[in-house]
Symmetry: C2
């Protein structure tokens, strides 16, 4: 195990520490490395809330057997391009990686393939999967269902999740276009920040507990997040759950168990991984030419604010990744210490 005197780690150091801490939590070394890969990439994209810090929360459930550290994940092709995956209540990013690998392998033959996973848990952020798929030449549509935090449009009880979904498009030789989003207008963290600052919030962010839009962040924290575009976002959140939960054989809507209320029970979350092999559609020159032109058209749009040029989705993450590869990633010292403590559970081999 490498010495960590500072709190800036290289990609390799962070990967080794994250892997070892997951081994410390009981994972098989290969499974630990694949799980770490997703969380390390998230950390390097600048997605600190979905990075290696998740090892701590996953660890709390691994330690009480709420998550299975040594799952027997089954991959069942039900047709040449359609695969069912049972995660056996394994760590989410591990189930996700196995499902994505199966979909990539099938899509390499059939051009398009879909893996539907059940029996899973929180699978991290979506963009690292989209990024990995794009680097291998696959466009991807990926998503997961989640614990209920959103009320149906016009309803006053949380019955669906924030439905994280991501999309990736390869750009041979350049940065892929990647969109990773949840369906709420704003994250709960932004509402908590407004409450701390004593500031009102826009009435489009959340409702109070009776389902009525509110500008009071404290009422909002007792209420429900609002989806983007009202009934449109409500519908999109349902689409994600229909793919990730209903068709996969996983739990859906209120059947999804809360990891906060019942950390010791399997959540039975579901995910979908739809992969499109872009190499079947044209040569890499053809694709990179079109992707560059696409980005150029967007970048050259006159901005409303001259100081804020138009961006392409994923641009910030790609920039953060390049910088993290040059300069390393700074970890919070307390998180570093926690990961080191988990890693120290592994007897030096």
């Amino acid at each position: 195990m490498q010495d960590q005197s500072g709190s800036v780690l290289s990609e390799a150091e962070l990967g080794a520490l994250a892997t070892r801490s997951l081994i410390g939590l009981g994972l098989d070394p290969k499974d630990a490395a694949d799980t770490a890969g997703i969380l390390v990439l998230a950390e390097m994209f600048g997605l600190g809330t979905h990075g290696v810090g998740r090892i701590e929360s996953y660890g709390e459930r691994l330690d009480i057997a709420g998550i299975n550290p040594r799952p027997s994940i089954t991959v069942e092709p039900v047709a040449p391009a359609l695969i069912r995956v049972d995660g056996d209540n394994g760590v989410g990013p591990l189930v996700g990686m196995r499902a994505m690998e199966a979909a990539m392998q099938a899509a390499a033959t059939t051009g398009v393939a879909l893996a539907l996973a059940r029996g899973s848990n929180h699978f991290g952020p979506v963009s690292p999967y989209n990024y990995m798929a794009a680097q291998a030449g696959f466009a991807s549509l990926i998503g997961s269902n989640a614990t209920t935090t959103i009320a149906p449009w016009g309803g006053s009880e949380a019955r669906l999740g924030n439905s994280p979904c991501g999309f990736g498009f390869p750009n041979p030789g350049g940065d892929p276009i990647i969109l990773d989003m949840a369906i709420s207008v704003a994250a709960r963290a932004k509402i908590r920040n407004a409450a701390k600052a004593g500031q009102p919030i826009p009435d489009t962010w959340a409702t109070d507990r009776t389902g009525r839009p509110t500008t009071d962040p404290n009422e909002a924290l007792n209420g429900f997040l609002l989806p983007i575009g009202g009934h449109k976002g409500y519908g999109l959140a349902l689409v994600v759950d229909l793919l990730a939960g209903l068709l996969s054989g996983a739990a859906y809507l209120t059947h999804v168990k809360s990891w906060v209320d019942a950390p010791e029970e399997p959540q039975n979350l579901g995910h979908y991984f739809l992969l499109i092999d872009t190499k079947r559609l044209g040569a890499s020159d053809w694709l990179s030419g079109r992707m560059s032109d696409f980005a150029d058209i967007l970048h050259s749009t006159p901005p409303a604010d001259p100081k804020a040029p138009v961006l392409v989705p994923g641009e910030i993450e790609n920039r953060n990744l390049a910088r993290a590869r040059r300069k390393g990633v700074r970890l919070d010292p307390s998180l570093l210490a926690k990961l080191q403590a988990l890693a120290a559970r592994v007897s030096p081999g």
Copy 2:
């Protein structure tokens, strides 16, 4: 040709009239019937703006050879589950139907399949395709790019389309769940109505021509529609265009020709049809049980307004369809007369 004394038509009468009017515009009878099928279903869903009235606007371009009435549509499988379709500048719903049929046929073998169409035109509303796919047991993700009406997030020039996209999930023996949406918060028609009424609009609907949010409907009509969820909807609109336009080989973003500014030129619109054969995932009892439970969970949510129960996407369209099948569809007399005039071009056989 049936006698049309009133303006309420049965599904069969409307289908026959729409088909004959398209034959009058030069389409082959089979092509005309398939094109009419989409527009008639839209009319019965209550989507009057996207129903058989479109035959008039398609007809204006067919009459000046801006759309090819007798296209040689080519269907090219580039892998077992991935199909490229060239619409040869045919009428959009015809190209759409040929692409969807190809995707359904492939998905029946491979479980999942994607058809990407180029060389097309406005393909009507999305929900009729999703409905037809659902009735055949396929879940579907379908979309099209469109003439530019939306500015990139933070930009002040229209560079992407409103990106209509639809999603359908079969429910054996019951109504499918169907979501058909464009990416803007509000349609331009709603802004025009506010302008006529002298009413302000919410500042989330549109920007003025400099890209700044406005509550003045007249400024908004000179400006740009805003996407749902700001940067999220901007990203989703791009995803639709990346699939429908960039990967398909069609035009994308500002390369899409406007049918208003250049009605005589091919638009080279693109569409995607992604089909999932749900019969591979479980028996129809399994699926209908889960779909009923899914809808029940949503319907039983306590509503914020007791007079407005929570709906499931597609519920209004399904209800309209059932009523239209019982009672027929009322057509505006002037539209009826126009369709009859087009149909009268066909010499009685």
